[in-house]
Symmetry: C2
Subunit: 257 residues, 2 copies
């Protein structure tokens, strides 16, 4: 990707997308997605990896609930990546990630991902620039492996939220009883690094774009969810999947994922 | 590696290595190895991956028992790779391999490995040439990941056995009551493909030598074991490892591998 300046990209929905009509479109897409996910599971040939990245309160959890929550959980898995465990830290940074690569027929959603190893770790200077560049290369190799050797289609979404919207959402977590469980005392300190994170993301877009990033304006939840659902829909449609024919009983129905 | 012709490389011990003096040297090395493995575990900084490849009856199991069997099993793990399970086959060919990459401080031995995916699969034409070449690249990227991102030292041994010695050992399995459990009816059919396997190995040496291969004459078990033990010894010595100093009790003793 040529250099991206996040400050130049809107975080809000384009004018022609109103809240109500966009939500209607989303509902229609979710119906189609449910069918296509079932078809992918049945065909047992492709797999889909959805990488969700964004700062705290950019709305990753909401996407998982609203876009992927309507699909059959038999074929959809969600894996969050938090601070590495001691066992994970004793391996290369992709070790724990690779284990959760999707099996054929499956949709795998990463709530954060291997990109944290070149984001939070860079912003806090836990790694030097040389290590970051080596990791960019390792990430590109890793994504190529999944694409070339297991028919995995990767969609990488950056949830692009403004510093103001982020701050407002974090404050909500300290006030709304239904959101307090999400509050972490470190969040505000991290949010103050909004600009530094944007810079680290811009490098990620520049050096890890063999599998292209989709930058999703994320200040409006309904628009963000629409964009992601629509992108997943277009991707699944492009695969031209087909239900397997009867095959003397040797079908995929009892294959483990 | 420049092209290797296996037919031009002896499968027997060089003349200056007699059975008795080689076995004596091996015993001395094993004592040193035990200490160095303990040091590596204590230092918790490096790791060692030993890849054992070779045709049936080339003596992989013997190496594991005689060379690695004298070390503390707390710091040594052995992982055999057989035909992929359905779950493994639903992922890229390196998925199951990566899971067994060594943690810091550990020695991991692979009894067969990711190389089977460009050996048995090629000899039987289960994959085409294009796929094989893509796999060579993926393997190189994968080994680079372990080396660069987890301080893993990789030793790759090809146990180079003559067709005659291989055949004789397989016949032994049908006669010796202590070896019958190893006999598999497919082994003789595979052994008839000795030349084809050699050709596939020669390509592996050519295209996957970023981490260099060690070709070990393997008709004499005592020489084969000596060469492998000596190579491991030299590698571990080259790491200049040190026991960690007292560190306010924050040592590695209770770290999980």
């Amino acid at each position: 990707m040529p250099s991206v300046k996040l400050a130049a990209i809107p975080t809000t929905a384009p004018k022609k997308f109103g809240k109500d009509n966009t939500k209607e479109r989303l509902t229609a897409i979710l119906g189609e997605l449910d069918d296509l996910q079932n078809l992918m599971y049945a065909e047992h040939k492709h797999s889909l990896l959805v990488v969700l990245q964004g700062m705290d309160a950019s709305g990753k959890d909401g996407v998982i609930r609203d876009v992927f929550g309507t699909m059959n959980p038999m074929g959809v898995r969600v894996q969050p990546f938090k601070a590495p465990t001691p066992e994970e830290a004793d391996h290369d940074f992709l070790w724990r990630i690779h284990q959760h690569a999707p099996a054929k027929g499956m949709i795998q959603v990463f709530n954060r991902s291997h990109y944290e190893d070149v984001l939070i770790q860079r912003v806090h200077n836990w790694i030097d620039v040389k290590t970051a560049y080596k990791r960019f290369n390792a990430i590109n190799d890793f994504e190529k492996l999944l694409v070339q050797h297991n028919n995995t289609h990767i969609l990488k979404f950056y949830l692009h939220v403004s510093a103001e919207a982020q701050w407002a959402r974090l404050e909500e977590r300290t006030k709304d009883p239904r959101k307090m469980w999400k509050y972490n005392e470190k969040d505000f300190a991290e949010a103050k690094l909004h600009k530094e994170y944007r810079k680290a993301y811009e490098d990620v877009f520049k050096y890890c774009n063999d599998v292209p990033w989709v930058i999703v304006p994320a200040d409006h939840n309904w628009y963000k969810e629409y964009v992601i659902a629509k992108t997943v829909l277009d991707t699944l449609k492009s695969l031209k999947m087909k239900f397997p024919k009867l095959n003397g009983g040797k079908n995929n129905a009892d294959k483990k994922p």
